[in-house]
């Protein structure tokens, strides 16, 4: 990532000045500012509204809150959190997300390592098939899996979502891990095997530590997908308060009649806060993952 001082494109741009480039410069900044405004205003509006009183939300737009006298309140958050199952739903989200992320990370690391480093019959065919699975629309897999899981009697329990989410996340994770391991120079592993390292040792002691950045990318993405997912949880866990994660709890709150905007805004923000924190903390990995996924789809 180039900083401002190091970016030759930006530098050269400031060197040339002329009447034409002043107009160009103005329209450039204007375009970017309009785009930034359109992208940030929806989030800002929701955030500000979530601190307004129900009467204010229903009578005036959120921008009126920016004009003194200020009348912000924490009531909306209180009333959402008092609904009891929100804290439980938050914990349930962690119980769904953490194990899935770890399963995907390690299973994909092992598989990616095999595809990148070992030659075996059918390697390319199997890998291409896994790549093809990236295009399968999720909704079409739901009924067969649901039938299978109900015959096992695990619908409505955490293992059901762990298995489903892990399978859905694997193609992308394997693809990314394989590309990463394929980029590690061969001689690092060769010298280890000359020193008598077994396959397992060279995977666990050399491969995994070297793959830390790739594991971070896969981990961040998997975490976001699972945390933000509604459909899979809705179908395999259902809405029972002892298992329902945050997305399910919030969306049932949104669908219930008689709830005002004030509850919606606060609930939505509670739902968004963890991914947004993860996003800001790990933005570097997040952006890297988006680029690495370029050949995905």
């Amino acid at each position: 990532m180039s900083t401002k001082a190091l970016n030759p494109h930006a530098q050269a741009r400031t060197q040339q000045r002329g009447a034409a480039s002043l107009v160009g410069s103005f329209s450039k900044h204007a375009t970017l500012i309009v785009i930034m405004a359109v992208w940030i205003v929806p989030i800002l509006g929701l955030l500000i509204s979530s601190f307004r009183t129900p009467a204010d939300i229903n009578e005036t737009g959120w921008w009126k809150a920016l004009i003194p006298p200020y009348r912000f309140t924490l009531e909306n958050y209180q009333s959402v959190l008092e609904r009891g199952n929100m804290a439980q739903a938050f914990i349930n989200s962690i119980l769904v997300t953490v194990p899935v992320t770890l399963i995907v990370l390690f299973v994909a690391a092992v598989a990616g390592f095999v595809f990148a480093r070992w030659n075996f019959k059918g390697r390319e065919l199997i890998f291409v098939l896994i790549l093809a699975l990236l295009s399968v629309p999720l909704q079409m897999t739901l009924v067969p899996i649901l039938k299978l899981f109900s015959s096992w009697g695990i619908v409505g329990t955490f293992p059901a979502v762990w298995i489903a989410h892990s399978g859905f996340g694997l193609p992308f994770a394997i693809y990314l891990m394989r590309n990463f391991f394929a980029g590690i120079p061969e001689d690092i592993f060769e010298s280890a095997s000359i020193d008598g390292a077994t396959d397992l040792q060279s995977f666990w002691k050399i491969g995994i530590p070297l793959a830390a950045p790739a594991l971070a990318v896969v981990g961040v993405f998997q975490f976001m997908w699972v945390w933000n997912d509604l459909l899979v949880s809705l179908i395999f866990l259902g809405g029972a308060p002892d298992v329902a994660p945050l997305t399910v709890a919030v969306s049932s709150l949104l669908n219930s009649r008689g709830e005002g905007w004030e509850v919606h805004t606060a609930a939505a923000f509670i739902l968004m806060i963890v991914p947004i924190i993860v996003f800001f903390a790990l933005q570097r990995y997040f952006v890297r993952g988006l680029t690495a996924g370029a050949v995905k789809s």
């Binding site: 930034m36 005036t60 770890l102 399978g167 933000n228 459909l231 805004t265 739902l271």
Partner: protein, 322 residues
Amino acid sequence: MSPLLTALIAGVSIPIGILLYLLAGEALLKKAGTSGGRTIRVALWLAPALVLLTLTLVYPLLSTIILSFKDARGETFVALANYVDIFTRSETLIAVRNNLLWILVYTVFVTAIGLVVATLSDRVGYEKLVRTIVVLPTAISFVGAGVIWSFMYAYEPPGLPQTGTVNALLTGLLPSADPIAWLADKTTVNGALIFIGLWMSVGLASVILSAAIKSVPWDTIEAARIDGANESRIFRSIILPQIAPSVVVVMTMMAVNALKIFDIIYVLTNGNYNSEVLATLMYSEMFAARNYGTASAFAVVLLLALVPILIMNVKSFREQSS
């Protein structure tokens, strides 16, 4: 046991469990003698991934294809009756039209705006800020985005103060205009939904395209500038040809998204006001009408539409790796 402790235990036990599995495999291989060890080891190491993939993707895929030739409860074989059924419904035509609309409008605009953001932000000092703001919606769930945008599009009858940002802007800038019920009007609903799709996807497009733009050799641009080319000429003749592969990647990704589009519509309109697409029809056949036959037929149609893109992806992967 506290749930957090459970998560922690899962967090430690999963990596250890996988390591133990591999260790046990090694021990077995040693016991059996090492002849042909690599082949068995490949099978052993790939097994967890392949089992999970078969269970959650391959098996359901095949099962869906078979179900699409069976009746509503998946019992008797009905040949092509489900396909005839879905293609003689008027809502299927609307869904196909909407999917095409999504593919066209969403794909073109995501790529175009992504290109504008990537090109312009490369030339300003606040690039990081632009990128952070534009990528932020990528981290937001569809449920969250649903609340955000139903709030943005909120509608009050004419004369009342508009609390929705879009209608407030509309009536503020054009006092003669009436507010529009964006998500409950057949003429605006698809545009309003596609705009939400844009808002959620441009970040991804701009990150990929900006990585491509940064890899364009600076001296080719400088040489053109010395020859007197202006900025738009440089963009068209120097930058665009060099980033063309990335543009194609972005457009393919977005076309796949547009074809599979589901969550935005499910959360905001549930397919009402002529906003349904193939995926939402499939979902309501499955969980509202409980007709597995027609639901599977919709799924297979969707899958067939994806095949050309899938073949393209596999081809480009082969070219890359060779």
